[in-house]
């Protein structure tokens, strides 16, 4: 069994069984008539919608807009999060001053900020980006803080014995020792940025993107367009996850392989 799972081709094939069953069931329900046919467009019309969206180029514009928004927001939010988490871990005084406030603020779900942001900044692209940034900020900050604050004293002792400067201590001990948790934080931040992007596009509808198309399609009752867009969103999210998992393996190759 394990031998089967360790080979690439069988692994891929096994992973495709569930999606194939889903599509088959879908097609069956969509063409069987009755109430469920209204809820599900047959695969043929979904494919046609896909060809249409590709043909007029709108889908590429949406993908680019959504990815740009997600990654810009991720870069800003997670960047600030890692910086803040590092600062609070290194300076306990700063932590004492801002940690209670940040901990209270993070209890507000990302979407909970929308009305306030909408009033302050309007419902434009800028507001969408702020939501994405907020979503990415907190997981990056919390994990970075935990990672750096919990570096084992026994490693810091080694640095002291070899007379490390503050910079050497940070770059050669704190940062690499905290890296597993920092990467966990970044993975979560990216997931939140992705959710925040779709949610803010859906709710604010500014500047194009997959979420905006979904909303428009809902208004126009284009079930086929909705399904194509949802499928593309799922595939993009999956691809992003695969990429970050690979980056993680590469950066943490010093860790024992198992788990």
């Amino acid at each position: 069994m394990n031998a089967l799972l360790s080979r690439r081709a069988p692994r891929l094939a096994l992973g495709l069984i569930a999606p194939a069953l889903l599509l088959a069931g879908w097609q069956w329900l969509a063409t069987s008539g009755g109430a469920s046919a209204v809820a599900l467009a047959p695969l043929g019309s979904v494919a046609a919608a896909f060809v249409e969206l590709v043909g007029n180029g709108t889908i590429f514009g949406d993908i680019v807009a959504t990815l740009t928004r997600a990654f810009t927001g991720f870069a800003i939010g997670a960047g600030l999060g890692v910086a803040t988490g590092t600062a609070t871990a290194v300076w306990p005084l700063l932590n004492r001053v801002i940690a209670p406030l940040l901990n209270a603020l993070r209890q507000v779900p990302m979407i909970g900020w929308l009305p306030l942001i909408g009033l302050w900044f309007g419902t434009g692209e800028g507001s969408e980006l702020i939501v994405v940034c907020l979503g990415a900020f907190f997981p990056a900050m919390l994990n970075t803080h935990a990672g750096i604050a919990n570096v084992e004293q026994r490693y810091l002792d080694v640095g002291e014995v070899f007379r490390f400067t503050t910079g050497q201590r940070f770059r050669r001990i704190l940062l690499p020792a905290a890296m597993p948790l920092i990467l966990t934080g970044l993975t979560q931040a990216l997931a939140f940025a992705w959710i925040g992007t779709l949610a803010s596009e859906l709710l604010m509808g500014a500047g194009g993107g997959l979420g905006v198309t979904l909303q428009t399609a809902q208004v126009q009752q284009r079930l086929d367009v909705i399904l194509v867009t949802v499928a593309i969103t799922a595939i993009l999210g999956f691809a992003i996850n695969q990429i970050i998992a690979r980056v993680r393996r590469e950066v943490l190759r010093w860790q024992p392989a198992s788990i």
């Binding site: 490693y155 080694v158 070899f162 007379r163 890296m179 024992p256």
Partner: protein, 320 residues
């Protein structure tokens, strides 16, 4: 310089008594011969204090006290430690757990500067860490995110060793501990014994005047342990830096140490100092080592004073 006022002066004689060798042929004769051929002053290179030659690695602990605050109360861990380690000497410290052995090493290496009394290296008071003092911890403490090579090179980061020479020096020390070929390995890919040897290489690469060893072989299995002990002795003979090793293995302490400091716990005190009058490299089978081991074990397990007669009655009792 070395003779501090210790509570039990009888220890000076411990290594000298020939009684034990009677009745044992071969090994006993040889051990005795070596012992007599190498009187103490020659076995340990001791520079003349009057001479102007710079001391290298003379470690003095005078009236050393250390206490920790536990539950609001000061609890003494070390009390009135007086100990001078001669340049190039190998001193072993044995004692039950709780006698402050590891604390003593932390103080000497400079990781803890809150203590009473004085610790001096070549006359200079120890207040913080220094590249003159190296340490091998009980756990290897290699950084898991760096390869063996990077871990060893790390020690040279703040030395004035020219960058161009570092790689060669690192390779040399990795070879010294028998790990050539594993330069690119990460710590999790090394066995416990290999990792500990790597830690020894990392400590030696800066050529510290004093190397402190905190139960460095405690976590190793018996076979690996003997192997690394031999390597340690070989490296010490090659480098001749001052070494202070804490261990709970009396045999190990005697095999490697020029002197063995026996400490008693609660609070940690020097109970006895045993001179091992045998030249290095030593033979593990030496009867003298076995007799000293019995004596120290008797001391550690708390036989009342005046009992050494015991040891004369049962000289063959060797194993624990």
């Amino acid at each position: 310089m070395s003779a501090e006022p210790f509570p039990r002066p009888r220890n000076q004689q411990v290594g000298g008594s020939p009684r034990i060798h009677a009745g044992k042929a071969g090994q006993a004769q040889r051990g005795l011969a070596e012992q007599q051929a190498a009187p103490r002053a020659e076995a340990v290179p001791r520079p003349n204090v009057e001479s102007s030659a710079p001391l290298r690695g003379e470690l003095t602990n005078s009236d050393l006290d250390k206490s920790f605050t536990i539950g609001g109360q000061a609890r003494p861990v070390l009390e009135n430690i007086n100990l001078t380690v001669r340049p190039g000497e190998f001193v072993s410290i044995v004692g039950a757990s709780g006698c402050g052995k590891s604390t003593l090493l932390r103080l000497i290496v400079g990781l803890d500067s809150e203590y009473g009394g004085e610790i001096r290296l070549d006359g200079e008071r120890i207040a913080t860490t220094s590249l003159d003092r190296g340490i091998v911890f009980q756990d290897h403490r290699l950084f898991p995110w760096m390869t063996l090579e990077q871990n060893v090179e790390l020690a040279l980061l703040n030395t004035d060793t020219p960058k161009a020479r570092r790689a060669a020096i690192v390779a040399e020390h990795i070879a010294l501990v028998g790990l050539s070929g594993f330069e690119k390995a990460y710590p999790h890919q090394l066995s416990g014994g290999m990792a500990q040897r790597a830690a020894i290489a990392r400590a030696l690469v800066t050529e510290p005047k004093v190397l402190l060893l905190d139960e460095p072989l405690g976590a190793l299995d018996a076979l690996t342990r003997v192997h690394v002990q031999n390597e340690l002795q070989r490296m010490w003979l090659a480098q001749r830096s001052t070494m202070v090793m804490v261990t709970h293995d009396v045999e190990e302490a005697l095999y490697l140490g020029d002197r063995v400091i026996v400490m008693s716990p609660h609070p940690g005190r020097v109970r006895r100092i045993v001179e091992v009058g045998l030249p290095h490299p030593r033979d593990r089978r030496s009867p003298l080592l076995h007799r000293l081991k019995d004596e120290i074990l008797a001391e550690l397990t708390g036989n009342p004073a005046g009992e050494p007669a015991n040891l004369v009655t049962f000289p063959a009792r060797e194993s624990r």
